[in-house]
């Protein structure tokens, strides 16, 4: 079995076909979230049951519009909160994808779940629906941090959800670090608790202030913003702790035990192809990147009147440069291919080598300090002819 950070696995991932399905419904809108989300209080949410029904119907219609393809190697339901629609609805979506495209043997079938949704019934239902991977949106094991993040669950609920899922699924813990007010100790404790649950996978993202969110408004009015140095400390703390717990870092923000890296994630950074279904979903097929509308009403109207819910599409400019830009996110780095000589001569890359941020050897560019990956990516973009 190839290691999570191996070149072999990364090369495989570039050939995988996946599907992303967006389930936008949430119990509440988290103050930092800028995803395409439908939460109570939004327009057209006075009859939530009906809205969900219409949405799922539209989603199934959209799946039918997509031309036939090879069997899928990975299916990922994200959100929003996919767990909020229940196992039966999830099962219908998976079944539909299987009948339309086929789901390959040994494929990854994964959903994101919020701790408050995880019950014995849900676990049973998901297993019956063919789900083999669950990512739990734990975010933190510190209740004060959870409150700051506007989450609906407590740390106890999160621990219980993990306990239920780890034995049955490839189970991932999703964490957010570096919220203002989160101490280094709090984070250390969150990491320890997460590792003690013995998950197969761990994702940790630095809290980011996204334009237009409630958090962004607050920061603009003078509230404390996340501190990049604090986030760097916490990032490094996790790197050390995860390594000690035999979780292998295979991407900037992702760790896994051998055999449990996330296919959908590796495929994204391997410039792989994927279909995107649902509100605000993105697809990448045959050199074209497309995106769906973000307004639920526009999405419903389009599909209910026989149109595609697409908001735009672009043909990838300089796909080879894009391949480098994406590939550097992975721990195994990226094959420089035809760029090898140009990269060796590039003053910006030479500086990054000198500063110990990257290494260029055996035809590959590898980021040694993933915290500076965007600096590397921006430099790589200037390689273009």
């Amino acid at each position: 079995m190839p290691a999570p950070d191996s070149i072999e696995l990364a090369d495989q991932a570039a050939r995988w076909r996946s599907a992303y399905v967006h389930i936008p419904f949430c119990r509440r809108r988290c103050p930092y979230c800028d995803f395409a989300v439908v939460a109570p209080g939004d327009p057209h949410t006075d009859d939530p049951a009906d809205l969900t029904k219409r949405y799922l119907a539209a989603l199934h219609t959209e799946i039918d519009t997509q031309p036939a393809w090879e069997p899928l190697d990975a299916v990922n339901l994200g959100g929003g909160t996919p767990s909020s629609i229940g196992a039966a609805a999830i099962g219908e979506v998976i079944e539909h994808l299987d009948s339309r495209f086929g789901i390959a043997l040994g494929a990854e079938v994964s959903i994101e779940a919020n701790p408050e949704d995880v019950t014995a019934d849900l676990v049973e239902g998901l297993l019956a629906a063919g789900v083999n991977r669950v990512s739990i949106g734990v975010q933190s094991f510190d209740d004060e941090v959870l409150r700051f993040l506007g989450r609906a669950h407590t740390s106890l609920e999160a621990a219980a959800a993990l306990e239920m899922c780890v034995p049955h699924f490839a189970c991932g813990v999703d964490l957010i670090f570096g919220a203002p007010g989160e101490s280094l100790e709090s984070w250390r404790s969150t990491v320890a608790t997460a590792l003690a649950a013995f998950p197969q996978h761990l994702s940790a993202y630095a809290l980011t202030v996204e334009t237009g969110t409630e958090l962004w408004q607050a920061v603009r009015k003078g509230a404390a913003a996340p501190d990049p140095d604090d986030q760097a400390d916490k990032y490094e703390l996790l790197q050390a702790a995860a390594g000690a717990a035999n979780l292998v870092q295979y991407e900037v923000s992702n760790y896994a035990r051998p055999g449990f890296s996330c296919r959908y994630n590796l495929s994204t950074w391997g410039q792989g192809e994927y279909l995107g279904f649902g509100l605000g979903a993105h697809g990448h097929r045959a050199g074209v990147r497309s995106r769906n509308v973000r307004s639920v009403l526009a999405y419903l109207k389009a599909l209910e009147s026989g149109h595609l819910p697409e908001a735009g599409r672009e043909t990838t400019a300089e796909p080879e440069v894009e391949r480098l830009m994406l590939g550097i996110r992975r721990s195994c780095g990226v094959d420089l291919g035809e760029w090898e000589d140009a990269a060796a001569r590039h003053a910006g890359l030479q500086r990054l080598v000198a500063a110990g941020v990257i290494e260029m050897a055996r035809g590959r560019l590898r980021v040694l300090r993933p915290l500076l990956a965007d600096d590397v990516a921006a430099t790589v973009l200037s390689l273009s002819r």
């Binding site: 800028d34 994200g78 994702s203 980011t208 140095d229 990147r289 600096d375 990516a377 973009l381």
Partner: protein
């Protein structure tokens, strides 16, 4: 032709915002030179920058036909003048082409320092002055007080001063009559060999250099073979014309007339504004009285961010110089910034305008270093070196003394701000001279101040401390030896010549500290710790550290949105391009100028 007795050549002297361009518009309209339909605001300000900033940079001219009631048709040539302190050289050129001037003053503001200085200049040049009070329609207008003030300065009775509103047109007819009656017609000898003054020129992509000329003696005819007297250059009068304000080609320009001349000369530096044009054969023996050569007051280094743009920058400067003969430059090499130019400017506004035009019209990304004045350094072997760039200051071992240029500054302010103005001037090492009350509420103050202390932000400070009411003008007042030192800045242990500045010894320490703090805020964090030090000679007087950047990575990409991720990274890449590599450190453009903007 119009006989000289029916020609009036005049300019308008006014402060910014006192309504000169609007008045010119109104004149064009009132005389039917242009109908209201084709009118666009500020006809004479042709450069985009001029209209945007509401100022006139280039002298322009327009000929207006006007028949006073019951009289004969006259030709009124309005020669526009710039309205900013930086452009007094341009004013002097315009004045030399005129016999009279309208002195235009805002009825709510009163006369401003620079207008007064230009009025004195016009009087010294022998021009007849017609004082005009504008904006009498404003609620805050106080024409009686302003008329008294003007009469006090120019002599005569306050009752004789014409009051107009360029906005409503009130008083315009009276003003036109005054121009005809009070201003003298041009003199000059129609039979003498041709002498025409080049008082402005601009570059036209299709036609080459277009000269604005005032014929003083003789006549200028299409097809004439001409000689430019200062350069002895020969050329043909390919085309002659007048601006009405639309260009109209004419066959001849006679003595006293104003118009344009196209010779087919396309090379940039060949025509010198201020030169005299005469006939190639049997031409005049003596050129018209020369102008003052424009003298740069402020120098700054201009460097392309991308070293490959050096040649493009050179071409752009050459082209700008055609329109702006006051622009002086020479190639300069900086260890930090590579190849560029040391450029002399008439003042800070001039510097800003040149930089903006280079970036906007020639699409160049530039670094402009802090402005400096020209010092005189005396060395132990008895030589005196002109130093317009701090890096050219001789080594301390041979440096005996440094002299700096002083200026005579005139400030006019409401009397309630005298205290705050004095305080500002003292901070800038100014010495108080005379103080005169123009009226019970307005004071004219005179100072001697080192030029280096006012080039940067003195004018802004003066304005903000007097709520915008004070105005100023200055003229050179020679060199004096001062206790000056060079403060160097070391970035990552390497001296960055572009950050070196010459300051007074008493201010060096606080200057160095501010500079280091300021730079720490302006230079983004790098891949390693970057020490910033300020030093005099070898002695470190301040130190700051830019801590290494530790995190530069975005969270996961939402739902596979690679397009957005790439856009963000492309923007980051563009940001990097606008940085100048100084040694191993990426320094943003703004740092070079902003760092030296020292707070009081």
């Amino acid at each position: 032709m119009t006989e000289p007795a029916r020609i009036r050549n005049f300019c308008i002297i006014a402060h910014i915002d006192h309504g000169k361009s609007t008045l010119a518009d109104r004149l064009l309209e009132a005389t039917g030179a242009i109908d209201a339909r084709n009118m666009r605001a500020q006809m004479l300000d042709t450069m985009d920058l001029e209209r945007e900033r509401g100022i006139t940079i280039k002298a322009n001219s327009v000929s207006i036909r006007y028949t006073p009631p019951g009289g004969q048709e006259h030709l009124l040539n309005l020669i526009d003048t710039p309205g900013h302190v930086d452009f007094s050289y341009e004013v002097s050129r315009s004045l030399a082409a005129c016999e009279g001037a309208l002195l235009l003053v805002d009825a709510s503001q009163g006369i401003e320092a620079q207008t007064l200085a230009n009025a004195y200049l016009a009087i010294e040049s022998g021009l007849e002055i017609i004082p005009v009070i504008n904006k009498i329609d404003l609620p805050a207008a106080d024409p009686v007080r302003v008329a008294k003030e003007l009469a006090g300065i120019l002599g005569g009775s306050p009752d004789d001063i014409i009051a107009v509103s360029a906005k409503t047109g009130a008083g315009i007819a009276e003003m036109l009559d005054a121009i005809v009656e009070k201003l003298p017609p041009p003199e000059g000898d129609p039979e003498a060999p041709l002498r025409a003054l080049v008082f402005d020129s601009y570059y036209d992509t299709y036609r080459g250099v277009v000269c604005h000329v005032r014929v003083v003696d003789g006549e200028l005819e299409t097809g004439d073979e001409l000689r430019f007297m200062a350069t002895s250059m020969l050329a043909d009068a390919d085309e002659i014309g007048v601006h009405l304000p639309a260009s109209r080609v004419v066959k001849k320009l006679h003595n006293g007339e104003v118009g344009f001349l196209i010779t087919g000369i396309k090379e940039i530096d060949l025509i010198r504004v201020g030169d005299t044009v005469t006939s190639a054969a049997n031409g005049a023996n003596r050129a018209l009285p020369g102008y003052n050569e424009p003298k740069p007051m402020v120098y700054s280094g201009i460097f392309p961010i991308d070293g490959d743009d050096f040649e493009r920058l050179r071409d752009a400067l050459e082209r700008l110089r055609l329109n702006d003969s006051s622009l002086m430059y020479r190639a300069e090499t900086s260890r930090a910034l590579g190849f560029g130019f040391r450029v002399g400017f008439l003042g800070l506004l001039h510097m800003e305008i040149v930089r903006e035009r280079l970036e906007r019209e020639y699409d160049l990304d530039l670094v402009t270093t802090a402005p400096s004045v020209q010092y005189e350094a005396s060395t132990s072997d008895g030589r005196i070196l002109k130093v317009s760039s701090p890096q050219d200051l001789p080594d301390r071992a041979v440096l005996e003394s440094i002299a700096e240029p002083f200026v005579k500054v005139m400030i006019i302010t409401p009397s309630e701000y005298v205290g705050t103005v004095m305080e500002l001037v003292q901070q800038r090492r100014g010495e108080m001279g005379e103080m005169t009350y123009l009226s019970p509420t307005r004071v004219e103050l005179h100072y001697q101040i080192p030029l280096g202390e006012i080039v940067y932000d003195f004018f802004d400070q003066l304005k903000s401390r007097t709520k915008g009411y004070a105005s100023m003008d200055y003229e050179p007042a020679g060199y004096r030896t001062s206790e000056l030192v060079r403060v160097d800045v070391l970035l990552n242990d390497v001296a960055v010549d572009a950050f070196s500045t010459i300051v007074h010894r008493d201010k060096a320490y606080s200057y160095g500290r501010q500079m280091a703090t300021r730079l720490r805020g302006l230079i983004p964090r790098q891949l390693f710790d970057v020490p910033i030090q300020a030093a005099i000679g070898g002695r470190i007087i301040a130190r700051e550290t830019i801590k290494a950047k530790r995190k530069d990575v975005t969270a996961k990409c939402y739902g596979g949105d690679i397009t957005r991720k790439r856009k963000l990274l492309e923007r980051q890449k563009e940001g990097k391009k606008r940085m100048k590599m100084v040694g191993a450190v990426e320094v943003p453009q703004e740092a070079f100028v902003s760092a030296l903007r020292i707070d009081e």
